[in-house]
Amino acid sequence: MEKNINLKLKVWRQDGPKAKGRFETYEVKNISTDSSFLEMMDVLNEQLIQEGKEPVAFDHDCREGICGMCSMYINGHPHGPDEDITTCQLHMRKFKDGETVTIEPWRSAAFPVIKDLMVNRNAFDEIIAAGGYVSVSTGGVPDANSIPIPKEAADEAMDAASCIGCGACVAACKNGSAMLFVSAKVSQLALLPQGKVERARRAKAMVAKMDELGFGNCTNTGACEVECPKGVSITNIARLNREYLMAKFKD
């Protein structure tokens, strides 16, 4: 049932990449429990603009959980306290009236803060550019089912492909490791016939880029999988390890 709540927000404010950040506390009133977290942030920003203050910068785009743009580390979780959702899908009914909500940017050396709650996630694009694609010439669109693919492989590839590259895995990881992201991107192609052709080169190039960009080393804590809005499994990480080790031993 809809009701309205009042909240105290502790928000990270940082003027630029080099500037020193600090927390500022704001109060928002009459927030509908049916609204989303980003809508609540919109209300806060309206309020700040009315007061003649600088609104809080945060990333957002599709607001339906598929683009991976919205970030925010809320009360100890990337994307907040609900499971398997992005911040735009987080409902305000998950919060209690009068609660203090701490909102921070992703924190990882490879994701530097641009401003306030926005971080630079170009590192993920660079990893994809290093090998997360299929470069075979595919020609025209083939008939459906002309290449047989086992159902299990298709399912696992689809599950891996559900990764939206939001970076919650890196934000949650105590090691700032990007292994869940890289493993999902390697798996979605390595499992399918079209992607198998370049599997060795892909695994080597993407892992090398990941290491070069300063992401940490995975210690298999499994925190990434728990916080992943798409529930991408860490069994993909085992597959990435296999792909990489086999490619290296063949050399």
Partner: protein, 231 residues
Amino acid sequence: MSNFLSSSIGKKLLMSITGLFLVTFLFIHLSLNALLLVNDGGEMFNAAAHFMATNPIIKIMEPILALGFIIHIFYASLLTLQNQKARGKDRYASGNSTPDVSWASKNMYILGATILAFLVVHIAQFWVKFKITKELTPVHIDIAGVETEVENAYALVNQTFGMLWVVIVYVLGSIGLAWHLSHGFWSGLQTIGFSNTIWRTRWSVIGTIIAWIFGLGFSLIAILQYLFFQS
């Protein structure tokens, strides 16, 4: 090859292989220690210790074992330092509330340091006295009908476990080890890539069982020696 060993997965593979190798050593160690609970005044244990001290395979394995420890510890330190750097300077003010993440998995380096601290005491108490200062007295036992002169390792072990503080240190060391392995065993297999949706659960169950076999096994031997084997 240097390129491979400087990659994150290459370094982790070394951690995994040395870690799993150390687990196989623990199996041998625990099975020999179990002889301490045979009530024959230590004859069986002394015979086993004599075999281990004179067997050429063991002589070869000893430096390899030491190397296993050194590589494991060195790469653990290197990876931990890199991971702290990757995490960045800023910490989350709201902490980390991710559920279902085991404490051990987040504190492997601290648990490892606990085991190392124990190892220093352990080596000083036994290995140094066996091999360096040679504080063992000879004793005659019967091995397969042949009377042989062996060093009385049992007497030293028995005397050491007569001290309460030693038993407490050993129990703490064993629990630290069990905790370390409760994450370490499956994690090592995951790093090799020997895991999928089915085996992931199996490995963590097997890993937990192995961890507590060692944890309880080594603890019990020390406690029972203290309680029932003192003359």
